[in-house]
Amino acid sequence: MNTYLKFGLLMSLIIGTLVWLAIGGVSETKTYYKTVAELETMKDATSKRLRVAGDVEPGSIVRKGQTVEFVLTQESKKLRVVYEGSDPLPDTFRDRAQAVADGRLGTDGRFHATRIQAKCASKYEAKPGQQGAPVYSNQADRRS
C-alpha cells in the first residue's frame, strides 16, 4: 500500500477520534449564558447547564454548613442562588461584587450553583488587569 495512503488513513483515524471526543465534550459541558430576566421566561430552563451573572445583594450572603446562599441582582431582577460546590469561594466574592454562577435552575426556583466566579469593582479603573495571569480566578472543576 502506498505510504501516503497509509499515513492518511492513520491521520484520519486520529483526527476522527479527536473530533468524536470533542463533540462529546461540547455537548456534555456546554453552558448557556443567560440574564436573570431571561431565566424567568425560559421554558426548559431546568434541563440545561446555565451561567448567570449579576451583583451580589449586600447582606444576602449566608453560610450554612457546606452550602452558601446569596441573592444575585441584575437590573432589579433577583435570583436566589445556593452554592453547593466543594471548592472555596473566591476571595473576591462578597457584597456588591460582580459574580458569575454556573449551575442549574432547580424546580424550587432557586439556582443551584456548582461554581462561582467573582470580581470586585475598584476605584479608578474598573478592573486592574494582568496579562496572562489569573487575577480573580478561583475555580477548580474537579467533575472531570
Binding site: L10, I14, T31, R63, D91, A140
Partner: protein, 671 residues
C-alpha cells in the same frame, strides 16, 4: 515629566514609520545608506522607549498620583519591588513593556546582523518595525500610560493610589508577565526572518539557522512564564489547582503549542529539506497567536474571570491581525514553488512520520483549545445564543493527545530516519516497553483502576527508559574510548551535541510534569467546620485543630488556624492556613498552608467562618499526590533549554549529502 514620556513615545512612533519606509525604499532603489539610516532608527526607538519606561517607573516609585496609571496600580504602602512591578500591572504599562521588549529585541537583531543578510535585512527590519509601529500606535493614542487625572477639574487631589491587587503581590506573579512577554515578543523575530526570506526568495534555510537560538530561548521564556503562572495559582489562589482552562490561560498556551510543533518540524527541514511550507505556516501561526493572545486578554471579547479592562483597542487588533494574516497567506501561496520539498515520506515507521504525527497532534490540540476558547463568540454569531464550554471539554480532548505525545516523545528520538525495520525497532524498544508494561502491571496489582493514569505512568516509565538508554549508550562509548568515568562521559556527550541531549533533558522534564499531572487523578478533598480541639482526617493524615487566632495590623485583618498534622499517631507538621482581609481594598485573600513532599502535598485553606451563629471555622483540606513533580519538571525544563543554547563542541553534522550546496547557499546570502 509625563509630557516627556508621551513625547518619547510619539517620537518613537514616527521613527518606526520612518524605519519601515527607509528600509523598503532603500532596498528597492538600492540605496544602502537609506537602509543604514533605518537600522539606526531602530536603535533610536530603543533609546526613546527606554526613556519612556524609565519615566513611568520613576513616577511609580516616587508615587506621582496625578498620573491615572500610577494612581490605579500603585500606592504608598507598597514595597519598592512591587512598585516597580506595577510597570506591567495594568494595560497601558504592559503594552509599554511589550513595545520596549520588542525594541530591545529589534536593536539586538540589527546589531548582530549588521554585516550579514544584506539583501534580506531591510525586509526583516520593516516587518519588525511594522509590529513596533502598531504597538506604539496603541500606547500613543488609546492607551497612553502617561494619561493625567483631571486634577482640578472635579478631582481635587489624589492622596494615595489604589495599589496593586493583593493577590498579585507575590514573587512568581511579579516575574510571570515579563517572562510571558519575552516569549510572546520573541517570536516576532523568527517570523520576521521567515517572511524576509520568503520575500527575497532566499535559497535554503538560512532563516532557520539564524533564528534557531531565538526560537529555543523564546520558547524557554514562554514555558517559564506559563509554569510560573501555574505555580502562583497553586500557592496563592487557594483552590489547589494550577490550570483551569480559562481563556486567558489558553491564550498563553496556544502559541506555546505551535512553537513546540515548530521546534520539532524545523529539524525535518534542516535534515531532510521537507516541510518547508509547513514551517512557514507554523512560525506565522505562532506569531499571530501571540498577537491574538494579547488581543484576547486585552479586549474583553471573551468573558473571563480574569478581570480585564474592557477597552476599545480590540478593533485595532482585529485590523492588524486581518492585514497581517492576509499578507502572510498571500506571500506563502505566491512563493509555493520556492518552498518545494526535497524528499518524500518513505515509510510510516520512520522518524519523519513520527515528526508528522507530533505536529498533527500538537496542531489538533491547539485547534481544540482555540475552538473552546472562542466558542462563546462563535456560538453567539451562529445561533444567537452565547454558549461556553468547560474544563471537562478541554480535558477530554487534551488528555489523550497528551498521552499520544508522550508516547511519541519516547519513540521519535530512537526510530530511524527514512524507514525502520522490525528488528531495529525491537532492539531499540524492547526494554523500555517491558519496563512500561511492568509498571502498568504493578500499579494494576496495587489497585489502580484509572485508565488514563495507568497509561500515563506506563508511558512515563517507557519514555524515561528510552532517554536514559540514549545517555547510557553514548556515554559508555565515550567512556570506553577516553577512559573517563560514566558521569564525566555523559557531560562530554551532552557537550558534543547540546541540542540533541539538551532536548532529551527537556523531554525528561515533560515526563516529570506528566507524572505530576497524572497525580491529579487521585486528589482528595474535604471541607470541615471546626472549633478548637476538633479532629478530622483526610487520606492518611489526622488533623487536629490546636488553636484559632485572629488579629489585625495596619494593612489587613487576619484569622488563622493552627493545625497539627499526624500520620499514624505521630505528629509530622503544624500548618497555619490564614485568611486576610486587606483594609485598603476591602479584599480578602487566603494564605494557604502546604506541606510539600515528593509523593504528595497536604494543602489546607482557611475558607472562612460560618455566619449562621455558630461561628465555626471552615477548613478545606486537600491531598494532591505527586504535584511537586510539575515544579521539578519546570526546573529540569529550564536546565535542558539552557543546555540547548550552549554551542555544541562538535560542529553539527548534517545528514544531508549536498555539502557543496550548503556552502553555496551561505555564500549567496552573505554577499
Amino acid at each position: 515629566m509625563e509630557n516627556l514620556g508621551s513625547l518619547a513615545i510619539l517620537l518613537a512612533l514616527c521613527l518606526s514609520g520612518y524605519a519601515i519606509l527607509a528600509s523598503l525604499v532603500g532596498k528597492w532603489r538600492d540605496k544602502p545608506l537609506l537602509v543604514l539610516s533605518a537600522e539606526r532608527a531602530v536603535y533610536g526607538i530603543w533609546a526613546l522607549l527606554t526613556i519612556a519606561s524609565g519615566i513611568l517607573v520613576y513616577s511609580l516609585i516616587t508615587g506621582d498620583f496625578r498620573l491615572a496609571y500610577v494612581a490605579g496600580h500603585s500606592n504608598r504602602a507598597m514595597p519598592v519591588f512591587f512598585k516597580f512591578a506595577a510597570w506591567w500591572g495594568g494595560m497601558e504599562g504592559s503594552l509599554l513593556l511589550w513595545a520596549w521588549i520588542l525594541s530591545s529585541y529589534s536593536a539586538l537583531v540589527v546589531f548582530t546582523n549588521r554585516f550579514r543578510f544584506r539583501d534580506m535585512m531591510p525586509y526583516v527590519v520593516a516587518i519588525l518595525m511594522a509590529v513596533q509601529c502598531f504597538f506604539l500606535l496603541l500606547i500613543s493614542f488609546p492607551e497612553n500610560p502617561f494619561q493625567v487625572l483631571a486634577v482640578g477639574k472635579g478631582i481635587t487631589e489624589v492622596p494615595d493610589g489604589n495599589g496593586l491587587n493583593p493577590l498579585l503581590q507575590y514573587w512568581a506573579m511579579v516575574i510571570h508577565p515579563p517572562m510571558l512577554y519575552l516569549g510572546y515578543v520573541g517570536f516576532v523575530v523568527p517570523f520576521a526572518f521567515a517572511m524576509g526570506s520568503l520575500i527575497t526568495r532566499q535559497p535554503g534555510d538560512a532563516w532557520i539557522h539564524t533564528t534557531r537560538r531565538w526560537t529555543i530561548l523564546t520558547w524557554g521564556f514562554q514555558s517559564a512564564g506559563i509554569l510560573l503562572g501555574a505555580g502562583w495559582a497553586y500557592a496563592v489562589l487557594g483552590w489547589g489547582g494550577y490550570w483551569g482552562w480559562d481563556p486567558v490561560e489558553n491564550a498563553s498556551l496556544l502559541p506555546w503549542i505551535t512553537a513546540t510543533a515548530f521546534l520539532h518540524s524545523v529539524m525535518m527541514q534542516e535534515k531532510k529539506g521537507m516541510m518547508k511550507v509547513w514551517n512557514m505556516v507554523l512560525i506565522s501561526a505562532t506569531f499571530f497567536l501571540c498577537i491574538f493572545g494579547t488581543f484576547l486578554t486585552r479586549s474583553g471579547i471573551v468573558g473571563s474571570v480574569h478581570a480585564f479592562a474592557q477597552s476599545p483597542i480590540g478593533k485595532y487588533f482585529v485590523a492588524f491581525l486581518a492585514i497581517g494574516i492576509a499578507a502572510t497567506i498571500y506571500l506563502i501561496l505566491d512563493r509555493l514553488d520556492y518552498l518545494k520539498s526535497e524528499a518524500h515520506l518513505e515509510s510510516v515507521l520512520s522518524r519523519e512520520s513520527s515528526f508528522l504525527f507530533n505536529n498533527l497532534i500538537l496542531l489538533a490540540s491547539c485547534f481544540a483549545v482555540l475552538w473552546g476558547t472562542i466558542f462563546p463568540v462563535i456560538s453567539e454569531a451562529v445561533t444567537g445564543e452565547k454558549i461556553s464550554v468547560d474544563a471537562p471539554f478541554y480535558n477530554r480532548v487534551n488528555v489523550p493527545i497528551g498521552l499520544f505525545l508522550l508516547f511519541l516523545t519516547g519513540v521519535g528520538p530512537l526510530i530511524a530516519w527514512r524507514r525502520s525495520s522490525i528488528e531495529s525497532l525491537k532492539k531499540a524498544f524492547l526494554w523500555p516497553s517491558l519496563l512500561g508494561l511492568s509498571v502498568m502491571a504493578a500499579l494494576l496489582i496495587a489497585g489502580v483502576r484509572h485508565f488514563y493514569a495507568l497509561m500515563s505512568f506506563g508511558l512515563c516509565a517507557f519514555v524515561l527508559a528510552t532517554i536514559l538508554m540514549e545517555f547510557w549508550k553514548g556515554s559508555r562509548a565515550i567512556a570506553a574510548k577516553t577512559g573517563q568515568n560514566l558521569l564525566l562521559a555523559a557531560v562530554e556527550l551532552t557537550h558534543r551535541n547540546t541540542r540533541r541531549y539538551g532536548g532529551y533533558i527537556v523531554h525528561m522534564a515533560i515526563v516529570f510534569m506528566f507524572i505530576g499531572f497524572t497525580g491529579s487523578a487521585f486528589n482528595l478533598d474535604s471541607t470541615n467546620e471546626v472549633r478548637v480541639g476538633d479532629k478530622f482526617s483526610i487520606g492518611r493524615y489526622e488533623l487536629k485543630v490546636r488553636d484559632l487566632l485572629d488579629g489585625d495590623n495596619d494593612n489587613y485583618a487576619w484569622r488563622r488556624a493552627v493545625i497539627d498534622v499526624y500520620i499514624g499517631g505521630r505528629q509530622v507538621a503544624t500548618l497555619n492556613p490564614e485568611q486576610r482581609v486587606y483594609k485598603a481594598s476591602r479584599q480578602s485573600t487566603s494564605e494557604v498552608s502546604i506541606r510539600r513532599r515528593l509523593n504528595e502535598d497536604l494543602y489546607l485553606n482557611f475558607a472562612g467562618v460560618t455566619n449562621d451563629g455558630r461561628n465555626l471555622a471552615i477548613i478545606q483540606s486537600y491531598v494532591f499526590p505527586l504535584v511537586s513533580w510539575i515544579w521539578i519538571g519546570f526546573v529540569t525544563l529550564l536546565f535542558g533549554t539552557a543546555i540547548c543554547l550552549i554551542p555544541s563542541k562538535v560542529k553539527m553534522q548534517y545528514a544531508r549529502t549536498e555539502v557543496v550546496g550548503y556552502v553555496e547557499r551561505h555564500a549567496a546570502v552573505t554577499k
